[in-house]
């Protein structure tokens, strides 16, 4: 009963498709409409309900912030931007009908963001086939070398993230790592990168173990991990699994638990409260590092981003959104795509798609802009622009990927994320080479 029934969930969604189609009386066959009137819709494709709803919440927050800025600057081509939340529930079987419905029935759905790992492999082809440019935050290694023309990614894939875990642990002086991953999708994606990186730096992996989620006890696993006397735990799991595991670790090890290195996927209020309750605030604030996409809090774009996040009325937990670097790429992505539309004078995907790379990487002599408003003004002045957003300068490779740098963050005593340090992307790539 953990899952909210799917066979019928799917059908229910399907019925909704038909009702929606009937109601709107329009089906544009999944093609980007391009030239239209009325607001341009940004499809935020992510889990709005279900176990991963927190991620969807973060994604939509970034969208609201970007839309606020874009509309304040006068919109795109004189049209307003609007966030259209598409619930993929985190389950491919539900995602397909929901995304199909959104593509078929939403007018002016001209850009998409989100499309995270659980459903990416099934939803990205749909969006790509509809010729809608998208900035995805998924971590699938498969998309390191994609040929999908409308796919763009400014965040690292999971194995790079895994290598970054090790890079951070090494920097902290730890040599013996216990690797404990819950057997869910994101965690399993990180593992190969961790293993490769540990080997590369000549560290010791005391244990490499996959654990089932939400078990009532991990005592035996903990005993096994303890036996290896690790200096650091590279742990990835949902809040409940992590809390249970760490609590048992503490009890069986006389109250001591080595520091944890994990992913920014976990830097959420739910994770904070679950782990704090069993481990205490001191441990959570001092001994946990969350590795993810780097966002420089001192960059000019960040202050604009921060203002927007705090300014958007729909956002309830601005601090969390600001702390998750991956999410900033959604804000950047929307700005980038909106500027590309302006430069192409069209909201049609096939027309403006090619401008995305140009504006992100910049051409010689282009003006560097840090916000949509500045970019729009420069374009109107007839200049070439180079957008440097929260993620910093973006250089897309041939596969539309730009992994960038990595950050390590921690929790403050009140549960807000705080930056601990930066890991250069080059360092991480080296660990994987």
């Amino acid at each position: 009963m953990r899952r909210r029934g799917t066979a019928f969930g799917m059908l229910a969604a399907g019925v909704a498709v038909s009702l929606a189609v009937a109601a709107c009386g329009s089906s544009n066959g999944g093609k980007s409409s391009g030239s239209g009137s009325g607001p341009i819709n940004v499809g935020v494709i992510g889990p709005m309900t279900g176990p991963a709803a927190e991620i969807g919440n973060l994604m939509s927050g970034a969208c609201y912030a970007a839309v606020l800025d874009v509309n304040k600057a006068g919109g795109v081509l004189g049209r307003k931007l609007n966030c259209d939340l598409v619930d993929d529930t985190g389950d491919p079987a539900d995602a397909v009908p929901n995304v199909t419905r959104a593509l078929a029935t939403t007018s002016n759905l001209d850009m998409a963001v989100g499309l995270e790992s659980n459903t990416a492999a099934t939803t990205i082809p749909l969006v790509n086939n509809a010729h809608i440019p998208m900035v995805s935050t998924n971590g699938l290694v498969a998309y390191d070398k994609t040929k999908d023309a409308y796919f763009w990614r400014m965040t690292p894939s999971d194995d790079q993230n895994g290598a970054a875990f090790v890079a951070w642990a090494q920097r902290k002086g730890y040599k013996r790592y216990a690797v404990v991953f819950q057997n869910n999708i994101g965690a399993q994606g990180n593992e190969p990168g961790v293993v490769a990186a540990v080997k590369k730096i000549g560290g010791t992996m005391t244990t490499n173990i996959t654990i089932p989620g939400d078990a009532s006890s991990y005592s035996s696993v903990v005993a096994k991990v303890l036996a290896g006397k690790p200096q650091a735990l590279i742990l990835a799991g949902d809040p409940q699994t992590s809390a249970t595991f760490l609590s048992e670790y503490r009890q069986l090890n006389g109250g001591k638990v080595p520091p944890v290195v994990t992913s920014t996927d976990s830097i959420t209020p739910a994770y904070f409260s679950a782990v704090k309750k069993v481990m205490g605030t001191a441990y959570v604030t001092h001994d946990m590092a969350f590795i993810g996409s780097f966002v420089s809090p001192t960059s000019p774009a960040f202050s604009i981003y921060k203002k927007a996040v705090y300014g958007a009325s729909q956002i309830k937990d601005p601090a969390t959104i600001l702390g998750v670097g991956v999410i900033a790429s959604i804000y950047d992505g929307i700005n980038l795509m909106a500027l590309a539309m302006d430069e192409a004078h069209s909201a049609s995907g096939p027309v403006y798609n090619s401008k995305i790379e140009k504006i992100a990487s910049g051409v010689p002599g282009a003006v560097v802009v840090n916000s949509y408003a500045a970019g729009l003004a420069a374009l109107k002045a007839g200049k070439q622009i180079h957008y440097e957003g929260v993620d910093g300068s973006v250089t897309f490779n041939a596969y539309h990927n730009s992994p960038g740098n990595f950050s390590a963050s921690g929790f403050t005593a009140s549960g807000n994320p705080v930056l601990l340090g930066m890991i250069p992307g080059t360092e991480v790539q080296q660990l994987l080479s």
Binding site: R2, S219, S220, A223, A243, S247, A274, V278
Partner: protein, 296 residues
């Protein structure tokens, strides 16, 4: 060697939780012949009830007792309101299963509506471990073991040493004959549901102590282990369910110590299926099964 002994110890602690729930499940199945999926949601309700009582600053033992009593009453109401009318109407086995699933969904989402979808925790009850030779237990595990041992011994005494226990076993074996022998079967059924509910309450709290952190899916996730334990021991056999719970707990912990922990449940369930191929009616069921055959 010490790895094995340690794992067995952990297995016993885990088995104690499963056994508590499995015994509650099995006595209730024995008397009503209903595969009661709602039991999972009731476990969740118990865990949350315990959580709120602890939030009020109550002592664990008091919270446990109050939760058990509350769940006992709730179980009787559940039976009287929903299951008893269905059995009077002669609804099919699967029809009743569907109803219990539906009731489970209702309860589960009532919990979400009240408590929200986020995880909650009883917090750290204490942080130390206790060693007996090679066996190591955490304090939480000891608390759970204490709950399980006390309740199991009490139930055993009730079943074997009292008039009521005999009446209960008779009703479970054959209600028609039991009624014929002058047993007030309606009362026996009510009291059985009380007992089952109380065990469910205790199991819910024990489960919450064991998992440390939980959310509204707690019960249904663990119901399956309890069902496995109950079937392993022979459905309707409280002693069988105790043993079954231990087997499931120990097998999964030992498996997790010696192989990939991701498969720990798979081993426990595989043991169940193997056992059923050898003894189709569970470990403890020889007596009643043939009795049922005779009656048929």
């Amino acid at each position: 060697m010490s790895v094995l002994i340690e794992a067995i110890g952990f297995g016993i602690a885990l088995g104690a939780v499963i056994a508590l729930g499995a015994v509650g499940f099995t006595v209730q199945f024995g008397i009503s012949n209903v595969l009661n999926i709602t039991y999972g949601a009731l476990l969740t309700v118990a865990a949350y009830l315990g959580y709120y009582l602890l939030q009020l600053g109550w002592n664990v033992w008091v919270a446990l007792a109050v939760t058990s009593v509350a769940m006992a009453v709730l179980s009787v109401i559940f039976n009287r309101l929903l299951l008893a009318p269905l059995s009077r109407r002669g609804t099919s086995f699967v029809g009743v299963v569907i109803v219990t699933v539906a009731a489970g969904i209702i309860l589960q989402y009532c919990v979400v509506a009240v408590a929200g979808p986020d995880t909650v925790s009883y917090g750290q009850l204490s942080g130390s471990t206790v060693k007996f030779a090679d066996l190591v237990f955490t304090t939480s595990q000891l608390i759970i073991l204490a709950i399980a041992v006390v309740l199991m011994v009490a139930l055993h005494m009730l079943l074997t040493r009292t008039q009521f226990g005999r009446a209960m076993r008779a009703t479970s074996a054959n209600p028609v004959v039991a009624r014929g022998c002058g047993i007030d079967t309606d009362r026996v059924i009510d009291v059985t549901w009380l007992i089952s509910g109380a065990l469910c309450g205790a199991a819910g709290v024990a489960l919450a102590i064991s998992t440390v952190t939980f959310d509204f899916t707690l019960g249904p996730t663990f119901l399956i282990y309890m069902i496995a334990a109950a079937v392993l021991g022979g459905i309707g056999q409280p002693h069988g369910a105790m043993l079954g719970g231990m087997v499931v707990g120990v097998v999964s912990q030992v498996a997790s110590a010696y192989s990939n922990p991701a498969y720990q449940d798979a081993y426990a369930f595989a043991v169940l299926i193997l056992m059923l191929l050898i003894r189709p009616r569970g470990l403890f069921s020889a007596g009643t099964a043939s009795a049922r055959r005779l009656a048929g």
